[in-house]
Amino acid sequence: MDFSSIPLLTITTFLPVVGALVVMVLRPKKTETAYAIGIATTALTLLSAILIWIRGFGPGLSLIEEFSWIPSIGIAYRLGIDGISFPLVLLTALLFLTALIFSAKIKEKANIFIQLVLMLETASLGVFLSLDLFLFYVFFEITLVGMYFVIAKWGHEHRKKAALTFFIYTLVGSLFLLLAFLALYLFSDPNTFDMRELIANPQITGLAATLTFWGLFIAFAIKTPLFPFHTWLPLAHTEAPAAGSAILAGVLLKLGTYGFIRFPLQMTPDAFREFSPYVIVIAVFTALYGAFVGLAQTDIKRMVAYTSVNHMGYLVFGIAIAAVTTTTSGMIALDGAVLQMISHGVVTGVLFLLVGALQDRTGTREMSEMSGLLKVYPILGWLFIVAAFASLGLPGLAHFPAEFQIFLGGFDVYPVAVGIIIIGLPLTTALYLRAIQKVFLGTLPKEFSGVSDLNRRELWAIVPLIAGTVIIGIYPNSLLSLIHATTNFFGL
C-alpha cells in the first residue's frame, strides 16, 4: 500500500476519539482495563505523530487532507501541517500520553474521565491541524467543554468555582473569536473559510481589519492568557487535577498562542504591526506581573500557575516582535516564541505532575507546611529541582534556547522593552529558589511519616517529559530546524 496515501493527519486527530468510543462501548469494569485502552490509544497517537515527522512535510502548510463538507458556503474539512503546528502536535500527543499515565490512580468514574481526556486530545489536535475557520472553531469550543468537565468533576476543593470562571471567560473569548472569524469570512473575496487562502492573501483592511485584529486579540489573550484576562488561570490550574493542570498549561494555553501566530500575525499582519506597541506593553507587563504575583504565592501549585502567566508574556512578546519587523530579528523572535510553546508545555506539564505527586504525599499545597522533603523524596525532589531550573530558564534545559531567541530578536527592535522584560528572569529564579528552599531543603519535621518516593507509574509519566526538557535544551535544533524552515517561509 502506498504510504503517502494514508491520511495521517486525520488518523492522528481522530485516533483518541476512537479510543474513547472503545471505552464507551466496552464499559470495562476494571479501571485498569480502561486505562490500558486509553494509554494505548494515546501511545498510538504519539506514534502516528512521529510517523508524520518521518514522512516529512514542507515549510509551508502541507500534507493537506481536504473533503467537502458544506460546499454551498465553502466550509470544508481541511487539515494541514507546517513547522509551527507539527511541534505542537507532537507536544500534545506526548503530554496526553503522560497525563493519562499519571492519572491512572483516579478510580472515580474512570471510564468517563478517560473518554473526556481522549475527546479533549482529539479537539486539541484538531485545533492545531485545522485549516478551515469553521472546523477550527468547532474544535476550539470542544476543548472548552472537555476541560470544563475535567475540572468540575475531578478537581480539588473549589473546583466548581474554578470551572465556572474558566468557562465564562473562555466563552466570552469564543464570542469574540466567532465575530472575528465571520469578519474574516465576509471580507474575503471570494468568501472563504479556507485558512490557506486567508493567509496567502490577507484582504481585510481599514477599520474592519482593526476590529478583527482586536477581536482575535481578546479571544486569544483570554486563552493564552494575558493581563488582565488571566484571572481564570490561577483558579483553574490550582483546582484542576494534576493531569488536568498539565494539559491545561501544556496544551490548552497553546491554543491561544498558536492562534496569535496563525490569525493576527498571518491574517491581519498590517493591523498587528500597527498595534504591536500596545501588545508589547501588555506582554511585558504580563510577564513581570506573573512573576511578581508568583513570588507572593504560598500555594506551590498556584505559584507554578503564575509562572505560566510570566512565560506566556515572553511568548506573546516574541510574536509581537515578529509582527513589528520584517528583518531577521523578527524571525529569530518568532523561532523563539514557537519553541517557547513547546518548552513551556513540557516543563510546566512536568512541574504540575510533580506538584500533584507532592500533594498526593503531603496532603497539602502550602509551602509553609513542608520542609526538608528532599530527604524522604530524593527522586521527586531532584526532578522538581531540574524542572524548576528549566522553568527559570537555565541553559541546557528547554526554556533557554526559546527565551534567548525571543530576547535577542526583541533587543534589536525594542532594547528598552527587553531590558525591562528580562527582569522577569531573576524574579522567577527567586520564586523557584524560595519554593525549593521551603519545601525540599532544611530539616525534616520529626513527626513526618511519609509514603514512599515516586512510584513506577509516576516515573513513567514524568521521566519522558524531563528527558524532553533536556533534549530540547541541549539539541534545540531538533525542533528549531523545522520551526525555522517555516518562519523562513513566512518571509517576514
Binding site: I70, S72, I73, F134, Y137, E141, L144, Y148, K161, A163, L164, T165, F167, I168, L171, S174, L178, L182, P228, T231, P234, Y289, F292, V293, G294, L295, A296, Q297, S329, I332, F389, L394, P395, G396, F400, P401, F404, Q405, F407, L408, F411, V418, I422, L425, P426, T429, A430, L433, R434, I436, Q437, L441, G442, T443, L444, P476, N477, L480, S481, H484
Partner: protein
C-alpha cells in the same frame, strides 16, 4: 577533536555515571577529571605545535555552537584541570566521612565540565550556557548539606545574586551579536561594542567574580564543603568573570575600560580591608578572593590582559592551596574562627607549611609565584593611563594582602593549641592535594612567564613596580603577625569585617523591596480575582433569573395551552366524539411531556446549562451561516 571532547565530556560523563550507578563515586569523579586533564594536556601540545582546533555543532538557527582552542583557552583549560584534579584528590579524603557524597561528586564533576566548556567556548551562546550551568552546579554544591539552614540560604543567595548580574551578560551578548551579526567569539573584531553593552558585560563580571557590590555571596558560599570553596575561589566560577573580560577585551572601548579598572580598584581596597578585619579564616580567604580578583579586573581595565592572565593562574594555585589548608585546620579543630584556631599551625606542621608557602606567595614574597604576578599587576598599574589611581590602589591592595596573610600566620602559629580531640582523618589524600598545589606556587614563578607567552601575551614588568611590591609585602607581613589577636569590637571595624552592610545590606536593599512589590501585585491580583468573581456571579444570577423566568413562562404557556386544550377537550366531550377527545388528550400529553423535557434541560446543575449554551451557540452559528446564503 577527541581531546577537545575528552576535556569537556570527561567530567560530564562522570556526572552521569555517578547519578546513574551511585558506585565508586569519588573515583569516578577523579577519573573524569583525569580524562579532562589528559584532554587539555593534548590540547596544549597541539596548540604549541600550532594546530588550530575548532568544532561546530548545530545550535540555534544562524548561530551554530562552536568550540575553539585558542592559545589562551588551551593554557587556561590546562590550569583548570590541573588544579581541579588535585582538589579532587584532596576531596576524596575530605568527603570520606562527610554526608552528601552523591550530591557533592555529581555536582563537582558537572562544575568542572561546565568550566571547561566555558573556557573552550568559541561562540557567545555556548559561553552563556556554560556560564549559567556552572552557576547551577555551584548552587548544588554550596547546598550540599541542604538540611542546614545556612547552606540553603547561601546557595539561594549565590545563585540569585549571580542571576541578577547575569542579566548583564544576556544584554551584553545581545549587543555583541547584533553589532557583529554573528555569535562567534573573535580575537580581532572589526568593531567594538557600545558603552551600554560593555557596561552590561561588566555587570556580569562583577557578579561572577564577586566584585563590589556583589561580594557577599562569595563569603556566604563558605557554607559548602571546603573543596567546593577551593574550586569556586580559584580556577573556576570567579575566574569565569575574568575569562569573560579577557574574551570581550578586544570589544571594549578605552572609555569602557576606565569603568572596568575603577570597579577593580574599588574592590581591591574595600574587600582587602574586609579580609584584614576578618575573624574567621575562611571569611578572610573569601574576602581576599574578591580583592585578588579585583587586581585582575584592574589589570584588564588598565589595558594589560597579560597581567590579569598571569595573576589568574598564580592566584588559582595559591588560593586553592590556602583553602585546602584551611579545610584541614577546620577538620581538625571543628571551627574556622580565629579564636578556635590559635596554635593549630604548630600541631599540624605539614599543613601549616603548605598553607604558609601559598600565603607567602599571595603576599608577594619572591621567588614564589605570587611575586611575579603581583609585580605584573603593579607594572600594569604604573604603565596605564590614569596611573595615579590604578597604581596606588594596587599597591595598597598588595599591602593589605601582606597584612591579612601575616595575621593568619600569627594566629595559627602563636597561641595555645587546644588538646587533641578528634583523630586525624584521611590526611594522606588531603595532604597530597595540598602539598602538590603549594609546591606549584613555590616553583610556579619560573613557568609563569613562558606560560603566559604561550597564551599569546607578554607580561608587563618594571623595576619600580618590583621594589614597591617588595616593600609592601615586607612591611605588611610583620604588621599582620604582631597585630592584635581577634575581636575587633569597634563598630567601624565590624562594618569593614561584615562586608559593608550598607543600609541593611543585600537583604534590605534588594530582597525586601522585591518581596514588598510582589505582595503589592498580589493584592491587586486578589482584588482583580474578586471583582471578576463578583461580576461572574452577578452575570450568572441574571442568567439564572432569565432562564428561570423563561422556564416559568414556558411552563405557564404550556400549562395554559394544556389547560386550554383540556377545556376544549371537555367541551368537545359534549360532542360525544371519542376519537377526537382521545386524539387531543394525546396531544396534550405529548406537549406536557415536551415541557418537562425542556425543563429538565434547563434546570439542574449550572454546568449543564453552560454545556447546552455552547451547543446552542454552535448550532446558532451553523444557522447563521446557512441563512447567510
Amino acid at each position: 577533536m577527541i581531546a577537545l571532547l575528552l576535556t569537556i565530556l570527561g567530567p560530564l560523563a562522570a556526572t552521569v555515571w555517578i547519578t546513574a550507578t551511585r558506585k565508586q563515586i569519588g573515583y569516578a569523579a577523579l577519573t573524569g577529571s583525569l580524562a579532562s586533564l589528559a584532554g587539555s594536556f593534548f590540547l596544549f601540545l597541539y596548540m604549541i605545535e600550532g594546530k588550530i582546533i575548532t568544532a561546530t555543532f548545530a545550535g540555534l538557527p544562524n548561530f551554530p555552537f562552536r568550540l575553539e582552542v585558542t592559545e589562551l583557552s588551551a593554557v587556561l583549560a590546562l590550569v583548570v584541570s590541573v588544579i581541579t584534579t588535585f582538589i579532587f584528590i584532596y576531596a576524596i579524603g575530605y568527603m570520606a566521612e562527610e554526608k552528601g557524597k552523591l550530591r557533592f561528586w555529581s555536582g563537582i564533576s558537572l562544575f568542572l565540565g561546565a568550566m571547561q566548556l566555558l573556557v573552550l567556548a568559541g561562540d557567545w551562546i555556548l559561553f552563556v550556557m556554560a556560564w549559567e550551568i556552572m552557576g547551577f552546579a555551584s548552587y548544588l554544591l554550596i547546598g550540599t548539606w541542604y538540611w542546614k539552614k545556612e547552606a540553603g540560604d547561601a546557595s539561594t543567595k549565590a545563585f540569585l545574586m549571580n542571576r541578577v548580574a547575569d542579566l548583564g551578560l544576556y544584554v551584553g551578548v545581545f549587543v555583541i551579536i547584533l553589532t557583529s551579526g554573528s555569535s562567534q567569539i573573535v580575537a580581532e573584531p572589526l568593531q567594538g561594542i557600545s558603552m551600554a553593552g560593555a557596561l552590561a558585560l561588566l555587570l556580569a563580571v562583577m557578579g561572577k567574580s564577586a566584585q563590589v557590590p556583589f561580594q557577599s555571596w562569595l563569603s556566604a558560599a563558605m557554607a559548602g564543603p571546603t573543596p567546593v570553596s577551593a574550586l569556586l575561589h580559584s580556577a573556576t566560577m570567579v575566574a569565569a568573570g575574568i575569562i569573560l573580560l579577557l574574551k570581550a577585551f578586544p570589544l571594549f572601548s578605552p572609555d569602557a575600560l576606565i569603568w572596568v579598572g575603577t570597579v577593580g580598584g574599588v574592590t581591591i581596597l574595600l574587600t582587602g580591608a574586609t579580609a584584614v578585619f576578618s575573624e574567621d579564616i575562611k571569611r578572610m580567604l573569601a574576602a581576599s578572593t574578591s580583592s585578588q580578583l579585583g587586581f585582575m579586573v584592574l589589570a584588564v581595565g588598565a589595558g594589560y590582559p597579560a597581567a590579569a592572565i598571569a595573576h589568574l593562574i598564580a592566584h588559582a594555585f595559591m588560593k586553592s592551596s590556602l583553602f585546602l589548608g584551611a579545610g584541614i585546620f577546620q577538620h581538625e579543630t571543628g571551627s574556622t574562627r580565629y579564636k578556635d584556631l590559635g596554635g593549630a599551625g604548630k600541631k599540624l606542621i605539614v599543613t601549616f607549611s603548605g598553607f604558609a608557602v601559598a600565603g607567602l606567595a599571595l603576599a608577594g614574597i619572591p621567588p614564589l609565584i605570587g611575586f611575579w604576578s603581583k609585580d605584573a599587576i603593579l607594572a600594569a598599574g604604573l604603565q596605564a593611563d590614569p596611573a595615579a589611581w590604578y597604581f596606588p590602589a594596587a599597591l595598597i591592595g598588595a599591602f593589605f594582602t601582606a597584612i591579612y596573610m601575616g595575621r593568619a600566620f600569627g594566629i595559627l602559629w602563636n597561641g595555645k593549641a587546644r588538646p587533641d580531640e578528634t583523630p586525624q582523618r584521611s590526611l594522606p589524600w588531603m595532604h597530597t592535594g595540598l602539598l602538590t598545589l603549594a609546591a606549584a606556587t613555590a616553583v610556579g614563578g619560573l613557568f609563569l612567564d613562558p606560560l603566559v607567552e604561550e597564551a599569546g601575551f607578554s607580561i608587563p614588568k618594571g623595576t619600580l613596580a618590583m621594589i614597591s611590591g617588595l616593600v609592601a609585602a615586607a612591611s605588611g607581613l610583620p604588621i599582620g603577625w604582631f597585630a592584635p589577636a581577634p575581636a575587633f569590637k569597634k563598630r567601624i571595624w565590624m562594618f569593614f569585617r561584615d562586608n559593608y552592610p550598607v543600609a541593611g545590606g543585600y537583604n534590605r536593599v534588594v530582597v525586601q523591596p522585591m518581596l514588598a512589590l510582589a505582595k503589592g501585585f498580589n493584592a491587586i491580583e486578589t482584588s482583580l480575582l474578586q471583582a471578576v468573581f463578583v461580576i461572574g456571579t452577578a452575570f450568572l444570577a441574571i442568567a439564572r433569573w432569565l432562564s428561570e423566568g423563561i422556564d416559568r413562562a414556558t411552563a405557564y404557556v404550556i400549562d395554559s395551552i394544556g389547560a386550554f386544550n383540556l377545556n376544549i377537550a371537555r367541551m368537545s366531550s359534549f360532542t360525544d366524539d371519542k376519537g377526537i377527545v382521545e386524539g387531543i388528550a394525546g396531544l396534550v400529553d405529548s406537549v406536557q411531556r415536551l415541557g418537562h423535557y425542556g425543563r429538565k434541560m434547563q434546570s439542574g446543575l449550572v454546568h449543564r446549562e453552560l454545556a447546552w449554551s455552547v451547543y446552542g451557540m454552535v448550532f446558532a452559528f451553523i444557522i447563521i451561516l446557512l441563512t447567510y446564503l
